[in-house]
């Protein structure tokens, strides 16, 4: 657990212990995700830097053991093996942003990251935001209050990109925030209302 990251994104008014409990609860979402059984890389494991298949990931504050192929992306692992389907794969090429998650509090495209490369790093997905009692993260609440997003497919990516951006700039202007989420595509093009909602959410985060 990387305390600083949790501190920066945990809903205010929630103790760190509560937050960790909440993300563990979320992470425990049941998953009948299929294990990949495709041809595995059979490299000589004695080499320096050779990777293990069975690894531990830190996802939403929970340690998850998972069997990972060398060529597997973080998006595949999270969606198919850990049942965290909040993030979406809209393009699989880093061109839409729907798969954005936080890696050590930094927004990244999970479709374009090898899962092996995030070992030892803290992954936060949209499932890790709301409290176990259902209380929304202030950022989510802000968007809810403004009826942000239309189809909602891009919403988890936008939320995670915004959270990461707010770590570096907690008091953004609307234009600065637009730049912060300019790596997220919304095909309903509800950008105007999304920005309004995210700005309100940022305001709630500062207040709480």
């Amino acid at each position: 657990m990387h305390a600083s990251i949790v501190e920066s994104i945990r809903p205010a008014g929630m103790t760190r212990r509560q937050f960790i409990k909440s993300v563990i609860a979320t992470g425990a979402v049941s998953s009948s995700g299929l294990l990949f059984s495709g041809p595995a890389g059979a490299g000589p494991k004695a080499s320096p830097g050779a990777v293990e298949r069975l690894i531990t990931l830190d996802v939403n504050g929970q340690r998850r053991r998972v069997d990972v192929l060398p060529q597997e992306t973080l998006a595949q692992t999270l969606r198919h093996k850990l049942g965290l389907t909040g993030l979406k794969v809209g393009c699989d090429r880093g061109e839409c942003g729907a798969c954005t998650v936080l890696v050590d509090a930094v927004p990244q495209y999970a479709c374009s990251l090898l899962t092996q490369s995030v070992r030892g790093k803290a992954i936060l997905t949209v499932e890790g935001l709301a409290r176990p009692d259902g209380k929304l993260h202030p950022l989510q609440q802000g968007v809810l209050d403004e009826q942000g997003f239309q189809c909602g497919y891009c919403a988890p990516g936008f939320l995670m990109a915004t959270l990461g951006f707010l770590v570096t700039n907690p008091h953004p202007t609307r234009q600065e925030l637009a730049h912060g989420v300019s790596g997220n595509l919304c095909r309903c093009q509800d950008y105007d209302k999304i920005l309004t909602g995210l700005m309100r959410g940022a305001e709630y985060m500062r207040k709480e």
Partner: protein, 334 residues
């Protein structure tokens, strides 16, 4: 064999934690190895089945390849330093703002968070034929579909230095590094060398199959910014169709030393107009010692001189000319 461009075919993955280990691996696998930096260029090509490496060496776990340090008056940037870090680093911003600006203009925030300076300059071309798996010269075939085919789509292709292949280097940071006279550290398991950034990039006249000189087994480990241009007058501008998340149609990176308005030293480099960053040497020579306003009058014609335009990219010559003028005036809103 049928084609699919989805998911990645299997490979062996190595995540060394030291440069020495990485070099040993690169040496051992040679041409069978693929060096992975931020991953945007690489993973796309794996998914598109354009590259099927046996072994992938991911440099992401090597701490010594990341970060910025001072070395006398120079700045040395680890090749795996992310573009976001480059764009925000206080020393870079203060002394070599040109590079910070160029790094900030790359793609999108997430790509800058993950993409690295080394990866950005070593990336391959985005020519849609080549990236689409067409067997062109660059891919070892016998034609250039963009430039030689009468109906070729070449809106985003080269106007300079195209011999056979008309692909361009899409990097936003490469022209900045050439303008700053950066030195690149290249290592293999036997040793290392440092070369001028300008000599790192190759055009189709030298080698039609690649954009840089990196050979199998070699790693780009660091980028050295010599004190030469520290604190100079800089200008960077990127023209693209989308204001974010797009490649340059044309970009320009310029470094100038001025005394009042008189140009004492200058380097102008265009990007996305050739297979390598395109230095406007003739413009530089012509305007040396001139007043910058007079230089801005003379530069456009010289900047576009020699442009060999294709049916759909004539506008790039106009951009080259106009950007040269704007760079010398130092005013984007001129």
């Amino acid at each position: 064999m049928a084609i699919i461009r989805d998911g990645m075919p299997p490979f062996d993955l190595f995540r060394p934690t030291s440069v020495d280990d990485a070099l040993a691996l690169a040496g051992r696998f040679g041409a069978d190895a693929w060096i992975l930096a931020g991953g945007f260029d690489s993973l796309e090509r794996f998914k598109d089945r354009l590259k099927r490496p046996k072994a992938v060496i991911d440099l992401g776990g090597i701490g010594e390849l990341r970060g910025v340090r001072r070395d006398g008056g120079d700045l040395v940037i680890g090749a795996m330093t992310t573009l976001a870090e480059v764009s925000r680093h206080p020393d870079i911003c203060e002394r070599f703002g040109l590079l910070a600006e160029a790094a900030a203009a790359v793609a999108s925030p997430q790509i800058r968070n993950q993409g690295t300076l080394g990866g950005n300059i070593a990336q391959d071309t985005r020519c849609w034929y080549y990236r689409g798996g067409w067997t062109c010269y660059r891919a070892g075939g016998g034609t250039c579909f963009a430039g030689e085919s009468p109906q070729g789509q070449n809106r985003e292709h080269a106007i300079f230095g195209a011999e056979g292949c008309v692909a361009v280097n899409p990097s936003d940071t490469a022209p900045a590094l050439v303008a700053l006279e950066a030195r690149l550290v290249i290592e293999n398991h036997k040793g290392g060398r440092e070369i001028a950034a300008e000599d790192f990039f190759v055009g189709p006249d030298k080698d039609i199959t690649r954009l840089n000189i990196l050979a199998p087994g070699e790693l780009l480990t660091a980028i050295r910014l010599p004190a030469t241009w520290s604190g100079a007058t800089f200008y960077f501008e990127k023209v693209s169709d989308r204001p974010v998340w797009d490649f340059s149609l044309v970009n320009i990176a310029t470094a100038m030393r001025l005394r009042k308005d008189r140009i004492e030293q200058v380097r102008l480099v265009l990007g996305a107009v050739a297979a390598r960053p395109w230095r406007l040497s003739e413009v530089e020579a012509a305007i040396m010692g001139c007043d910058r306003n007079a230089a801005a009058e003379a530069a456009p014609r010289l900047a576009a001189k020699g442009a060999a335009v294709l049916p759909h990219n004539g506008y790039k010559a106009v951009l080259a000319a106009n950007l040269a003028k704007r760079a010398l005036l130092g005013n984007k809103d001129a």
